[in-house]
């Protein structure tokens, strides 16, 4: 560990820093920018879905320029080739460059060492490397937009043979993914070792904040699930660059020409390898969010989280189960009875711990003294949104019903309820909650509440109608939003409504951005309150705001109790820090 007393150069301090807090903030800013970019792609796509083939307003010129650079005809509209590029890259960017780096790279990095009383991550240099590898992966993905044929266009799932015969963008996608995966592997190993090795004295496993548990399980998912995809990515790269046939069967005829490959491979093999990562991946997207929600609910109900042990066992079980449900994404590939029984059963089983976790959060409200501040509003908004996401997973998990719903907008609606008003709300909740810790300044509550209410409304405005379209049988990934298909005619009118909701959602982010900038520019109080939320966990009670440079703590804290000791009978205040020895000793 580097020592905390010498002056560092600008580069060491802000760019190639090994301090987990700086790296966390680097991750946070980069990932937020990517999140915004991924969302912007979607705003353009939503124009095409609402008003097919009309020129995009305002940025039509830019779209035309990009399309023509890629070799597509455009009059300022979004042609179908570019729609597919944007779709694939929206998914890729949102997941691998936006949400995962935010919840693991930013929150995990910044909060975990502080919450467990560690001076830094176990491997600070590895930590720095993981950020820069992520950065390179991001640059590769961005550069690919300017290639002939554009960026990857075969969906974020990149199913061969389509992805193997696709334009050069796909090669860049695979290379970019190799970097992103490597970065995640480095980051998650680091989190695992840190949690195992660097907990403060007295911080036993069952005294860990739930957020730390969630990060711990998430890191295991990343470490165990990503390697198969990294390998699969290399195999697909070989298929593309060196004409191997890992994923190509014999006898392919593309555009009237027999494809000149040896054949004998299996496109299904890719799907298995891909989903073996990608199902755990969706839990990577949601578990850290659950961790954030647990912290905020306990803090703002002013009572212990209900069923802490059930929560911990559930999240561990959930992590384990997430490795054996992957083929429920593949029910329509011609699956026999045995496989379908296995994967339906595991899918139904995995819903149980999710129900338990949600129940614990809900039951925690009972008997509380609930404060409705902005972090709490986002946390409370998260509950029904994640509920809808979870419930709509039920029909999709039953293979028989999936016959109708597979690859329709019902699926898009379902998983967006989990990741958009789900995870994104958890991220907002976390930002409002920990911002005072990171900067020593509170974000404005009024702007925060405006941000919450409008985001809540417009999120539902976007995603609820998708469930309706999906029920009508409208396929996903349609560059004209279903205009061409007869069965979509009855629900086409919803496209405009959803698109307006998406653009309004963008406008609803303006108060948030103003809030961030205004607060950052504001002068800091001479001695900022280190614990404005009156919280119990170590990051609030034993550090300054922001925490001091390398090392975090003046002296290593010792832990005497569980994470959520709020309103303990006999205490004079309604929160008893983890590090206070006696109940009334303060």
């Amino acid at each position: 560990m580097s020592d905390s007393h010498h002056e560092e150069s600008y580069w060491r301090k802000y760019i190639f820093s090994t301090d987990h807090k700086t790296i966390g903030i680097q991750y946070g800013i980069t990932a937020l920018l990517f999140l915004f970019f991924g969302f912007s792609l979607m705003m353009v796509m939503r124009w095409q879905l609402a008003f097919p083939d009309q020129a995009v307003p305002v940025i039509g010129g830019l779209i035309q320029w990009l399309a023509e650079l890629n070799g597509f005809a455009s009059i300022g509209n979004l042609p179908s080739d570019l729609y597919n590029v944007f779709g694939a890259m929206h998914g890729t960017i949102m997941i691998f460059l936006g949400v995962v780096p935010l919840v693991v790279g930013a929150f995990g990095n910044y909060i975990v060492p502080l919450q467990i009383g560690a001076p830094d991550m176990a491997f600070p240099k590895l930590n720095m490397t993981s950020y820069w590898v992520y950065f390179i992966g991001g640059v590769i993905m961005l550069v690919s937009f300017f290639l002939p044929g554009g960026a990857a266009n075969s969906g974020w799932t990149s199913y061969p043979p389509l992805s193997v015969i696709a334009t050069t963008g796909q090669t860049f996608w695979l290379l970019g993914m190799v970097f992103l995966i490597t970065s995640s592997l480095l980051g998650s190993i680091n989190i695992i070792v840190t949690i195992i090795q660097l907990r403060a004295p007295g911080l036993t496993w069952m005294r860990l904040p739930f957020f730390v548990w969630a990060q711990f399980v998430t890191s295991f998912l990343l470490v165990l699930a990503f390697p198969p995809l990294e390998a699969a990515g290399f195999l697909q790269l070989m298929d593309r660059v060196f004409d191997t046939s890992f994923f190509l069967p014999s006898g392919l005829v593309v555009g009237g020409e027999a494809l000149d490959v040896s054949g004998g491979g299996s496109p299904l093999l890719w799907q298995h390898l891909f989903w073996f990562l990608a199902h755990p991946e969706v839990y990577v997207l949601i578990l850290p969010g659950m961790g954030v929600i647990a912290e905020i609910i306990a803090n703002n109900t002013r009572k212990p989280i209900w069923g802490y042990k059930s929560l911990v066992y559930s999240v561990v079980f959930l992590g384990f189960m997430s490795f054996i449900v992957w083929a429920h994404h593949m029910f329509m590939t011609g699956m026999g009875q045995g496989m379908s029984i296995f994967f339906q059963t595991t899918t139904m089983i995995i819903s149980v711990p999710s129900v338990i976790i949600l129940s614990c959060f809900m039951l925690s409200l009972w008997g509380g003294s609930i404060r409705f501040n902005t972090p709490m509003l986002f946390a409370l908004g998260w509950i029904p949104m994640f509920g809808i996401g979870g419930l709509t997973g039920l029909p999709l998990g039953l293979s028989t019903l999936d016959i109708h719903l597979h690859d329709t907008y019902y699926v898009i609606g379902h998983f967006h309820y989990v990741v958009a008003p789900g995870t994104i709300f958890a991220i907002f909740a976390g930002i409002y909650y920990w911002f005072p810790k990171m900067t020593g300044k509170m974000l404005d509550e009024t702007l925060g509440k405006i941000h919450f209410f409008f985001s809540f409304i417009f999120m539902n405005g976007i995603f609820w109608p998708m469930l309706i379209q999906g029920m009508a049988g409208v396929s996903r990934r349609l560059a004209d939003g279903g205009e061409s298909y007869a069965h979509a005619q009855g629900t086409l009118h919803l496209n405009e409504f959803m698109s307006y909701s998406a653009w309004l959602l963008a406008i609803a982010q303006i108060p948030f951005i103003i809030n961030l900038i205004r607060t950052l520019l504001r002068k800091k109080a001479a001695e900022p309150d280190p614990n404005p939320w009156r919280a119990t966990t170590i990051e609030w009670t034993d550090t300054t705001s922001p925490p001091m440079g390398h090392g975090n703590f003046e002296k290593v804290p010792t832990v005497y109790r569980g994470p959520y000791e709020y309103s303990v009978p006999g205490d004079s205040t309604d929160f008893t820090p983890q590090t206070s020895k006696l109940i009334k000793d303060r």
């Binding site: 392919l252 496109p267 339906q344 338990i356 709509t392 028989t400 009855g490």
Partner: protein
């Protein structure tokens, strides 16, 4: 009672059901949505009460212990039991009926469907009831998209582009495959969907119970009958000069692609015409005649 509960499926906005197995699927979908609705409403009610009752103004001091009762356990067990029933009682047996009880080849109408970017090739065995061989060396996008060997069993085979005709109330057995990338064969009204994978042939079977004519009658006052906007991707001018018969083709059952297969995935539509047995046979004969004429011209 069970039927009645299931009728929520009438309100889910499902497409008209036109296949024999569709009703039970719709009912199950309805029941599952009942379960979802009850859980959501129950938890939602609790949620709202909790927020009102325990906000910091009405309850300034939190209770360290919180909920003591174990009612929530019952809710969790309830969920487990319901899920187990949906799984073991409904989904698993239905899957075996719909997906792994492949009908006898002789008992069903047989068709091969070969997907390609961006069309559905439909291949009937012709009068001899036997499919001819195919060879990728013979593939010619214009004249022989599936590379059919026009000799032996293949001499009388009928191949159409995007035109699937089926007789009503007879089981059809489709052998589904793809020439190039993965597509997905979906007909929402028939409640079928199956990925078409190159290198694999996968059986798809169902029994249509409604003719296209009956169906079109049924949807007379929907947008599907009188489309607007982009007029099913044709544009208003084209739509308006179409004959009523051609319009009905668009309004009727369509084969939709459900798997991203390239830039024109969004308009990879085929047309399914379900007709009476006489009409179907007449259509087959007509197609066979075309074939003979072409043979005489020797330019197929």
């Amino acid at each position: 009672m069970i039927e009645y509960l299931g009728k929520i499926s009438d309100h889910l906005g499902l497409p008209v059901n036109a296949a024999s197995h569709g009703l039970i699927m719709d009912l199950v979908l309805g029941w599952v949505h009942w379960v979802m609705f009850i859980l959501f409403a129950g938890w939602g009610l609790y949620f709202i009460i909790a927020l009102i009752k325990f906000n910091s103004k009405s309850n300034p001091k939190a209770d360290y212990n919180g909920v003591q009762s174990h009612y929530s356990k019952f809710a969790e067990y309830g969920v487990i039991i319901v899920e187990a029933f949906l799984l073991v009682g409904l989904s698993i047996p239905l899957w075996s009926q719909l997906r792994t009880t492949v009908p006898d080849a002789d008992a069903a109408i047989q068709v091969r469907v070969i997907a390609q970017q961006f069309a559905w090739n439909i291949h009937y065995p012709g009068a001899d009831g036997e499919f001819g061989d195919t060879d990728i060396k013979l593939v010619d996008e214009e004249s022989n998209p599936i590379g059919l060997v026009r000799g032996g069993a293949g001499a009388d085979d009928i191949v159409t582009l995007n035109q699937l005709h089926l007789p009503v109330n007879q089981q059809v057995l489709i052998h589904l495959t793809s020439k190039d990338v993965i597509h997905s064969f979906g007909i929402p009204e028939m409640r079928v969907k199956q990925d078409a994978l190159p290198g694999m042939t996968i059986p798809v079977y169902f029994t249509p119970t409604m003719t296209s004519a009956e169906f079109i009658n049924k949807i007379k006052d929907t947008n599907r009958y009188s489309p607007s906007g982009n007029y099913m991707g044709l544009g208003q001018e084209t739509w308006e000069i179409l004959s009523e018969e051609k319009k009905n083709e668009f309004r009727g059952f369509q084969i939709a692609c459900a798997q991203l297969c390239g830039n024109s995935h969004y308009k990879m539509r085929g047309f399914l015409t379900v007709e009476t047995e006489e009409e179907f046979n007449a259509w087959l004969e007509e197609e066979a005649e075309y074939l003979e004429e072409e043979d005489e011209d020797d330019d197929w």
